[in-house]
């Protein structure tokens, strides 16, 4: 609920939400000028977990940067590594076998489901419900087990290579993924009944935290935040990459612009991701997972390359400026939550603190990804 504010001079106080605060899921700090429970002005302070991945990208050779990308967003790491390998492949002109691209798409989508599941749990926990988090983690654990069996790690994957993959998927993975899909669909129904239909939940989110389409455009918001504002934008559809044109899936769009719309977009995205996984497993072609001539030394020709991918949080862009050397001359990471978060300061003005934090939860923040 946001109401008109009549501030008497000198009657506000400053509240530091963070850098250590349960609602910020990490080390984010928001300096809020408060009038009672109402926020008069907010200023986000970043940089508490800034690690300068961009400089590391300039100092290391292209393959050495691979593990860095999964440290940006630890929940949906594969989407980011996918962007990176695609960017370098575009720059260096490396061909990728079809099977590798299919496996990439399957694993990215599974990772997206895992990321959304964790967001779902954490978001409901922001609103005070603890149990859905545990249910979500149970389902997520299945995905992590599957991905661990293939990639070798559970969270910060380093699975994709320039030109292909680290290793192939096996029948166990395919069987596990096929068994997981109906299980997940059942769970989604459970979440709908337990959380989405709940009156308390609905009252807390409906018409709360409005982010309009125009505001999204001015701030460059992408992903579920933009789709919750009625913008039909998904890089997988708008600027198809990898093998996504081969799949039949929908982009959920809601026009309410409130926190509930953003919540619903993500819940439906999980279902769409499952559809992609299902189709990917069906269409999975046989063949190699690395090109016949494995690229040994990667030295993209001088130039400026950009690649955008749709990660769980929005449009992730990576710009590589090459001078022909084995290190990138400039390595820019455009992180989606950075733009999504930048509108928080304006959007939360005049809101009550609990609504503002619910809205912050609906933005799906992963702080290491904002700070890079």
């Amino acid at each position: 609920m946001s109401g008109p504010i009549h501030i008497q001079p000198g009657e506000t106080f400053t509240l530091n939400v963070g850098p250590q605060h349960p609602a910020t899921h990490g080390v984010l700090r928001v300096k809020m000028e408060m009038d009672g429970e109402y926020i008069v002005k907010a200023e986000t302070v970043l940089g508490y977990i800034h690690r300068m991945h961009e400089l590391m990208g300039e100092n290391r050779t292209y393959p050495q940067v691979l593990p860095n990308l999964s440290r940006l967003d630890y929940l949906g790491a594969l989407g980011y590594t996918h962007g990176h390998v695609l960017a370098v492949e575009r720059a260096a002109g490396i061909e990728v076998p079809e099977r590798a691209e299919y496996i990439r798409a399957i694993t990215v989508e599974l990772n997206r489901v895992a990321s959304h599941l964790f967001w779902f749990g954490a978001f409901v926990m922001d609103l005070g419900g603890f149990t859905p988090l545990m249910y979500a983690i149970q389902d997520r654990e299945h995905i992590l087990d599957m991905l661990e069996a293939v990639t070798g790690s559970r969270l910060t994957y380093c699975y994709y290579r320039f030109g292909g993959l680290y290793n192939d998927i096996d029948d166990d993975f395919i069987a596990a993924a096929k068994a997981f899909i109906p299980r997940m669909r059942k769970s989604l129904k459970k979440y709908d009944a337990l959380v989405t239909g709940n009156i308390i939940f609905e009252k807390r989110l409906k018409d709360i935290g409005p982010i309009s389409a125009e505001m999204c455009r001015k701030y460059g918001a992408t992903g579920p935040v933009a789709r919750g504002a009625g913008i039909d934008f998904d890089v997988r559809k708008n600027e198809p990459y990898s093998v996504y044109p081969e799949f039949d899936f929908d982009i959920p769009v809601y026009h309410e612009c409130d926190s509930l719309a953003r919540y619903k977009v993500r819940m439906e995205e999980m279902e769409q991701s499952l559809r992609i996984v299902e189709q990917g497993l069906e269409k999975l072609p046989d063949g190699p997972i690395m090109p016949a001539k494995k690229p040994k030394l990667i030295k993209p020709p001088a130039g400026d390359y950009y690649q955008a991918v749709e990660t769980a949080r929005g449009s992730f862009g990576i710009r590589i400026v090459s001078d022909g050397g084995k290190n990138a001359y400039r390595f820019k990471l455009r992180s989606p939550t950075y733009s999504n978060m930048s509108l928080f300061d304006e959007a939360c003005e005049g809101m009550m603190i609990m609504d503002a934090l619910a809205m912050m939860g609906s933005l799906d923040l992963v702080i290491p990804e904002i700070d890079r």
Partner: protein
């Protein structure tokens, strides 16, 4: 005379013991229950089924240093946790567990319990205010507005029942419901057709009065860190914690006495303390169950619920019952 005093002292000691034991073991029950709901075992390392966990927690809390933040009002800061625990224990004195097990029966028992229950709002206000923490301050302001708005429908509902039975003595309230489930206040009768609704209102209000989820706005951890007890550690926190659970027992006992026939059996057979305990623990289980199912409400949602839904309906119930009592 002296014998009566001795009786009362023994009874009070037993009441304190019961309250403390309940407070300690309800924490265990809550954690085990939450664990089961979330498909994990809960505390299971200390002792069989983790039954020694409360003991371990207690020792840990007692041996910790009590940190008083700089700038805090020391006296009030120390008083607040005591004020959270003491009224809860005192309220136990008047609660009749059965026909004979009652520390001190008095003819205005209902009034006394509500008088002491209002004090818990004070403890939160003092704790939040004296600890000189912005989160604590906001939490205490919230908690007070919550306590004020939920006492109204709660008391209106109690007035309805007092009107029906014509007494404020808890023992007599139970006696009026003896004989079986059909005599309980929960079951609608010709003169009080809306009693299940009144039960629901009272149940919601006791959740809100005891600051339980989904109405735990005073400690809303995702926005106010830990609310009014942000600055409390060691036994100060322990007392708040125990006070919360003691209050839950009081709330459950009151619901049992007012609506569920106290120590009476649903079929009118073998009335006794076991029925009373069974009923309050079932109610406490539902408190735990609700806490681990629902998200938290907002402060304005909470006030809207009270002023726009609970109070009008309970007032309507009061008027309807008063009218029908005249008719039948």
């Amino acid at each position: 005379m002296s014998l009566t005093i001795l009786n009362v002292i023994i009874a009070v000691v037993i009441a304190i013991g019961f309250a403390a034991l309940n407070a300690a073991y309800l924490v265990w029950a809550e954690r085990r229950g939450a664990g089961r709901i979330q498909r994990r075992p809960g505390p299971n390392v200390n002792g069989p089924l983790g039954l020694l966990q409360p003991l371990a927690d207690g020792i840990k809390l007692m041996t910790k240093q009590l940190v008083i933040p700089g700038g805090a009002d020391k006296a009030l800061f120390m008083v607040a946790p005591v004020l959270a625990m003491a009224p809860a224990i005192i309220s136990f004195v008047t609660i009749p567990f059965s026909e004979s097990i009652v520390a001190h029966s008095m003819n205005i028992g209902v009034l006394m319990i509500f008088a002491f229950a209002s004090l818990s709002g004070f403890s939160i206000l003092l704790a939040g205010w004296s600890s000189r923490n912005k989160y604590g301050m906001m939490a205490s302001v919230r908690a007070v507005s919550q306590n004020i708005s939920y006492e109204v429908p709660m008391l209106i509902t109690v007035i309805t029942i007092v009107m029906m039975t014509g007494t404020m003595d808890l023992k007599e309230l139970v006696a009026a419901q003896s004989g079986g489930i059909w005599n309980w206040n929960l079951i609608p009768s010709l003169s009080s057709p809306l009693m299940p609704v009144a039960f629901l209102i009272f149940f919601i209000c006791s959740l809100a009065e005891t600051n339980r989820a989904p109405f735990d706005l005073g400690e809303a951890e995702s926005e106010l860190v830990a609310g009014f007890h942000t600055e409390y550690g060691s036994m100060g926190f322990g007392l708040f914690f125990m006070g919360e659970y003691a209050n839950i027992v009081i709330g459950a006992s009151l619901i049992t006495i007012l609506f569920l026939g106290g120590w009476g059996c649903p079929l009118g057979l073998f009335p006794g303390v076991w029925w009373f305990l069974l009923k309050i623990y079932m109610l406490i289980f539902s408190f735990i169950w609700i806490r681990w199912t629902f998200p938290r409400t907002t402060i304005y949602g909470l006030l809207n619920l009270s002023w726009k839904i609970l109070i009008p309906i309970s007032l309507f119930n009061l008027l309807l019952t008063a009218g029908l009592l005249k008719v039948f």
